[in-house]
Symmetry: C2
Subunit: 228 residues, 2 copies
């Protein structure tokens, strides 16, 4: 009994141009309908439907029916991490000459990673949180210090509510463009959510791109000192 077949199941499910495009779209964190996904992969909805079934069967994607719509989304954080890691390996093994894309710099700066913030800014924030000991490691576990809890509460995040979720509060997630960690987990998701609520950041339609608005630039600078 080898592990080969199990890897094949997962990798073959991802390793088709259409399905990869769908997963990439879903990495934006929003759940999308079958038709939306088909159109953004450039195929008909019949074909899209069969691809989506494969993704669901493989356990990479989950469905939620709502009226006559069916919303598809990345199944869980593990899968999101796997994809993020894969993007990283792909970027590093890519043929350098087709490596530069127009939107690439903006994506490197700030983007959505499933449900939390990634990119230069996210890495920078994460490291500042650690340096000022709002986040710290207890053994190998990343945790929020007492100061950190107060800080987050002031920022508008109900930490207690997050703790009651089954999901881990803080996790480190390896950033594919920076090769350094950024904040994931329930807190990472809540933090990004809060940036949107405050109007500090805006998510670009149909892309993983996140734009930091002037108010956010200012607010983050005030909160953390100047961002790189």
């Amino acid at each position: 009994m080898s592990i080969g077949p199990s890897i094949t199941r997962i990798a073959a499910a991802i390793g088709d141009p259409v399905r990869a495009e769908m997963l990439a779209a879903l990495m934006g964190g929003r759940a999308l309908t079958a038709t939306e996904l088909a159109s953004c992969a450039g195929i008909t909805k019949q074909t899209g439907s069969s691809h989506l079934r494969r993704l669901v069967d493989a356990g990479l994607v989950t469905v939620r029916s709502q009226g006559r719509h069916r919303y598809f989304g990345i199944a869980n954080e593990d899968v999101a991490h796997l994809l993020e890691q894969m993007i990283g390996v792909a970027a590093r093994t890519a043929n350098p000459r087709l490596h530069v894309g127009p939107k690439e710099p903006a994506l490197r700066r700030a983007r959505v990673c499933y449900d939390h913030l990634a990119g230069e800014i996210a890495v920078d924030i994460y490291e500042r949180l650690l340096r000022s000991e709002l986040l710290c490691f207890v053994g190998e576990n990343l945790t929020l210090s007492a100061d950190g809890v107060r800080w987050m509460r002031r920022f508008g995040i109900d930490v207690e509510r997050l703790r009651s979720q089954r999901r881990a509060l803080c996790r480190a997630c390896l950033d594919w463009s920076e090769r350094r960690n950024h904040l994931a987990g329930a807190l990472g998701a809540a933090f990004l959510e809060r940036l949107f609520e405050r109007g500090w950041a805006r998510r670009e339609r149909g892309s993983r791109l996140v734009t930091i608005r002037p108010a956010g630039e200012l607010g983050l600078k005030r909160a953390f000192g100047s961002l790189r």
Copy 2:
């Protein structure tokens, strides 16, 4: 310009039964010849050759020619991590009824992850190293404390030599069976090497399985207290 195609390149390279089997074999950490890899995937050497070319083209595998042999190996730690992560996702999304295999428990206990130790024992060792502050986090970086350096030197590892490598000294690697970290990086590799040299552990031929021998059981117990 989307990221879809780049993911496809990597995932499609992995997502073939033969190539997955080859990669699984290479995750044992040893470089293998084309013929060996073909035979362990159950195909002829012509077919194997073309698969290996695809793996090399995708940047997942590297070759080293030596006389009339060509030795293939996992390209780098990133790729190894990606595969490890993929095994984890595969295990967690697997159909539970075919989840149990004969060698599974032993594999969960101790196995090679590319070039370092993984499994229950590895996770346990890692956590004990942290708890006794031989390893600690400085900000987000895992480092060896002064005590840790002394400890490793006593254990027979030349830490200074490892530091001079370009490769990171300590890294945490997520264990797919345990979902907790174990020690990777140059130190992780050296530690496993030392276990073999001392005769504390033995690697099973043609598998990722590592057997801890009585001397090792005793020695580790003496070094760390009783292992789980």
